[in-house]
């Protein structure tokens, strides 16, 4: 009985955090109430938005490749889901990094539309 409970709890925990990158595109589009634009996402990602850094400062302009932290030089694994299966699979992580990195690059949080656009572009990368 105890093992069944443990197995059930494990399965529940796994299902709670297993998300696919496309789920986030859908979620942000729904929150924005408008369709995403990969083209707009690319522009947003690669140009400075008021801060000292753009997304590309750390993730590079081609996030199929690995990046480096602009300040500490620490290696960053590729951001594009096609290059890195671990990316955009856990809501808590996705929300945490958008919060932190939007604050660092825009000095504010990103809008749902901005996040949807970036997701669309990242998902289109091959």
């Amino acid at each position: 009985m105890r093992y069944i409970l443990i197995i059930a709890a494990t399965l529940f925990a796994a299902s709670a955090q297993a998300e696919a990158p496309r789920d986030f595109l859908a979620r942000f589009e729904k929150e924005a109430g408008a369709a995403a634009s990969a083209e707009r996402g690319a522009r947003f990602f690669t140009t400075k938005q008021g801060g000292e850094w753009s997304c590309a400062s750390c993730h590079t302009e081609k996030p199929m490749q690995a990046g480096r932290h602009a300040k500490t030089d620490k290696a960053i694994t590729p951001l594009a889901p096609a290059a890195n299966a671990e990316r955009f699979t856990e809501a808590a992580k996705v929300d945490k990094w958008f919060r932190r990195n939007c604050n660092d690059t825009l000095n504010r949080l990103c809008s749902a539309q901005e996040k949807a656009d970036v997701m669309a572009w990242l998902l289109a990368l091959r």
């Binding site: 932290h69 300040k71 500490t72 030089d73 620490k74 945490k96 919060r99 660092d104």
Partner: protein, 156 residues
């Protein structure tokens, strides 16, 4: 019969082993610390600052040396506890500034200054080094806790 001699033997071996580890700053295993702190920079050894410095740092993560490193409260508390438990002792020296405020940068501590007094400003600025916070540039084995003199290689 053997067991009677085991404790003293163990104590002796432990004592003999101690000097070897005297300079070892290996970071104790902690999943949350690794995931949250070491994704942006190397895992700085908790032993290099005292508990009050770690508490001050963990109390202002949304302004973490110019970056937003904010965490949910559960993780923030867990990592603070880890850092405080593993924080430095007597060897760490003074880690407060002249006014008694806890320092947040290991590179500003008296021990760091003393250990690096032979390194000139131009050396710190080299592209291969970038800043005094980039331990691994010269201490190749820093990630493993080895900051020993004989493991140092200063890049050109």
């Amino acid at each position: 019969m053997h067991s009677r001699f085991a404790p003293p033997l163990f104590a002796l071996l432990t004592a003999l082993a101690l000097p070897v580890h005297a300079d070892n700053y290996s970071v104790p295993k902690n999943h949350a610390f690794e995931e949250e702190c070491a994704s942006c920079h190397m895992a700085y050894p908790p032993q290099m600052l005292h508990a009050d410095s770690w508490r001050a740092m963990m109390g202002n993560l949304s302004r973490h040396f110019g970056s937003d490193a904010s965490l949910d409260e559960k993780r923030r508390t867990a990592i603070t506890d880890f850092l405080v438990t593993q924080s430095g002792g007597r060897k760490t020296g003074d880690t407060r500034d002249a006014r008694g405020t806890p320092l947040l940068r290991i590179t500003e501590t008296a021990r760091f200054a003393k250990k690096h007094r032979e390194i000139g400003a131009a050396t710190w600025r080299r592209a291969s080094i970038k800043s005094p916070a980039n331990c691994t540039a010269c201490h190749a084995q820093a990630a493993a806790g080895d900051y020993n003199e004989r493991s140092i290689r200063i890049p050109k």
